[in-house]
């Protein structure tokens, strides 16, 4: 294993220059320091107060794992130039197996140098990277830690890891409770712990002790988790001549579960996402489609079909210029199956699953934003009280509190009283609204009408007499923001034909906002 360790990463992620004293703390304990702080005597493991005592100027920062991991991603990505099997073990710590790369670059030493060359430009002076190569991850990590020089690397030859580890203190295991007991038993180094009989360790310390014992002997707890898609589930079809019609591809996709699933089913895996790679004659396209829930074999085939459909029927720009020559279906993520309850007579047991499926299907046809779900929001007008958010952003199977009217708890002064109008216009149309004198009705800033309403005309329709009305209710919205400031007054009017409307005046013009149809 190769391990690349950036000891100062928690400080680097905060964007602090390394020549300024800084320390990153978790629960008032220092976990990382800048070189300048180390020079002043601040050490990892110190209490915050002690660190400040050693160096009064030290900047104390709280640890932000998310930020560290986010900023560390380019480093991991750079290493993928060497091998695709990169595992990010934590912020500032990344590793991969040496087997292939080491042979390619001509030995572990050459590989370590190559890794240094790849990582340094990405780090660009933001701290140093230490590289360790050893049999196991734990040993490689300690090797990286013991590489003192800024660009140093330590290579432990194969089989030498137990000897290398023997000299380290028992505290390096990172198991405070266990190492406390072991120290009191007189076992101060990994070597002395490794010399014990594994059966005795297991008998006295159980599973935890056994794992620690494996580490101390230079073995790994378990092989590392690699970034590798499940290649054995991928299926590729070559079309000769290139397939021009969707149903040719769809037929292949339909057969996918039957060709690929039997191999996967005994293992009990469920496929989560799906990547279909299409290789038309010249260009290639990849459509990645994630799913929040595991898909059945038939749903998987359907999804592949919809994806292809959406892709082949895209607008002039997105459409491939030639037929599909090769189609690869590749499961993106597989998880163990936990079982699924079906209705007894083939009925629909889980409606949310069904609905999620149809949403995915329509999204494949019309685009990801095409299907939305409603949510309550605060607001005065009927159109402002409900917001639409893309269905892709929510889990339809989960409870959504914002869909209940009680979600909005704050009062909205000037809100139109219930019942709400059944027809709310997205873009209100201007209307004619006049008083008995024949002049347009106006509303003053204090909410007084120039005259009582007389007649109203919607669009080019006939003039209707207003028999009753309520309001006007003035609304002075967002007066603190000159760009979105709106000042209007709303009224409910009932016409002689019994129809009721919500009208508003804004800037001397009357608008039809909603109809109580």
């Amino acid at each position: 294993m190769v391990v690349v360790w950036c000891p100062d990463w928690p400080v680097v992620a905060w964007g602090i220059p390394l020549d300024e004293p800084a320390a990153v703390v978790v629960a008032n304990r220092v976990v990382a320091t800048s070189p300048a702080a180390r020079d002043e005597g601040v050490e990892v493991g110190q209490r915050r107060r002690d660190a400040q005592g050693r160096c009064p100027d030290v900047a104390i920062l709280e640890r932000d794992i998310d930020r560290e991991s986010r900023l560390f991603e380019p480093v991991a990505a750079a290493l993928e130039a060497i091998t695709p099997e990169v595992e990010v073990a934590g912020a500032g710590l990344v590793g991969f197996p040496t087997k292939g790369p080491s042979r390619f670059f001509g030995g572990d030493q050459a590989l370590a140098e190559q890794v240094g060359l790849v990582v340094q430009p990405v780090l660009a002076g933001r701290g140093d990277a230490r590289i360790g190569i050893a049999d196991g991850v734990f040993a490689a990590r300690l090797a990286a830690r013991s590489a003192r020089a800024a660009r140093g690397h330590v290579v432990i030859e194969p089989g030498q890891s137990p000897e290398f580890l023997a000299g380290f203190g028992i505290g390096t295991l990172g198991l405070p409770h266990l190492s406390d007991v072991l120290v009191r038993l007189g076992l101060r180094t990994l070597g002395s712990f490794a010399a014990l009989n594994a059966a005795d360790v297991s008998g006295r310390f159980g599973q935890e002790g056994l794992l620690a014992h494996r580490l101390a002997r230079g073995e790994d707890q378990h092989p590392p988790d690699l970034r590798r898609p499940a290649h054995d589930l991928a299926v590729t079809w070559a079309f000769e001549p290139a397939a021009e019609r969707i149903d040719q591809c769809a037929f292949a996709a339909k057969r996918w579960p039957t060709t690929s699933m039997p191999r996967s089913t005994p293992k009990g895996w469920r496929v989560f996402g799906l990547v279909s790679r299409l290789r038309p004659k010249r260009e290639s396209g990849t459509i990645v489609c994630g799913a929040t829930r595991a898909l059945s074999a038939a749903a998987l085939a359907d999804r592949a079909r919809w994806q292809l459909d959406g892709w082949l029927n895209a607008g002039a720009g997105g459409r491939p210029s030639a037929g599909v020559a090769r189609l690869t279906l590749l499961p993106d993520e597989v998880v163990p199956a936990t079982g699924r309850q079906l209705g007894f007579w083939g009925g629909r047991a889980d409606r949310a699953d069904d609905v999620t499926r149809v949403v995915a299907r329509i999204q494949a046809m019309l685009g990801p934003e095409s299907v939305s779900v409603p949510e309550w929001r605060g607001g005065r007008g009927p159109g402002e009280q409900i917001g639409l958010i893309p269905a892709a952003a929510v889990d339809l199977g989960e409870a959504r509190p914002a869909t209940d009217a009680s979600w909005v708890t704050q009062p909205w002064p000037g809100q139109i009283p219930r019942p709400a109008p059944a027809k709310v216009f997205d873009d209100p149309a201007p209307i004619q609204f006049v008083g008995p004198s024949g002049n347009a009705v106006t509303v003053t800033g204090r909410g007084d009408m120039s005259e009582p309403p007389g007649m109203v005309q919607f669009g080019r329709g006939r003039w209707l007499r207003v028999v009753s009305w309520a309001g006007p209710w003035p609304a002075d919205e967002r007066w603190w923001d000159p760009l979105t400031h709106r000042r209007r007054a709303r009224m409910q009017v009932v016409c002689e034909d019994g129809s009721a409307h919500l009208v508003s005046i804004e800037g001397q013009t009357w608008w039809l906002e909603a109809t109580y149809t």
């Binding site: 609905v355 149809v358 329509i362 046809m365 299907v371 869909t403 009217a405 219930r418 709400a420 009721a500």
Partner: protein, 232 residues
Amino acid sequence: MALRAARAELSPELINKIRPVTLAQERVLPVPEALLPLFPWGGLPRGSTVGVQGSGSWSLAMALMAESLGSQGWLAVVGAPSFGLAAASGFGIRLDRVLVVEEPGRSRWGAVVSALLESVDMVAIDPDAAVGARDARRLAARAREQESILFHLDGGKSWPTGLDTSLSVDIEGWVGIGQGHGHLQARQANVRAVGRRSGAPNRSVSVWLPGPDGRLVAAPANVSEFRPRLVG
């Protein structure tokens, strides 16, 4: 386990055959009590087409949907961007069971509605152009086979054939609003059944739409039978 394995070997046709038989009357969705006289089957038959027309039709649609969907049913609103969801919620439609497709597009409209009919219980449509006869036949058949309901918010104006159930609303008047005081509170209306399969032609009920509590309730004078006028 054995049951599941045995079930997997059955063909879908056979499953349909051995499925417990239900009578047509049992395959209806509940409707508001005040509207029961308009539904001779005691409810809204599953897999049918329904339309509403007249002033106040959308409120009637919402009240009917709320009762039929219950707490579990899903509603999809396709191509009706002015469908007032706040009002729908006021009539009792659960907003966490609502999907909205605001712009299905002219060319994909049929495919979207057809896909939705497969998975949700009710699809409300307000087409902005006439629906072709072939599309209409296909969608009606899809609704029948999936036992979902196609709800025409435009009363079936754009539909080439008649609807199974068609209701028409006539406004009587509003309560709570005066000349510059109060606000709209409740509305009295007459609802008539006019559909070809309604079975109760020209029967009408008087309802509050909405009533003072925001729901559809029967107005005191309940059913008024249509009395043929004497000619001459």
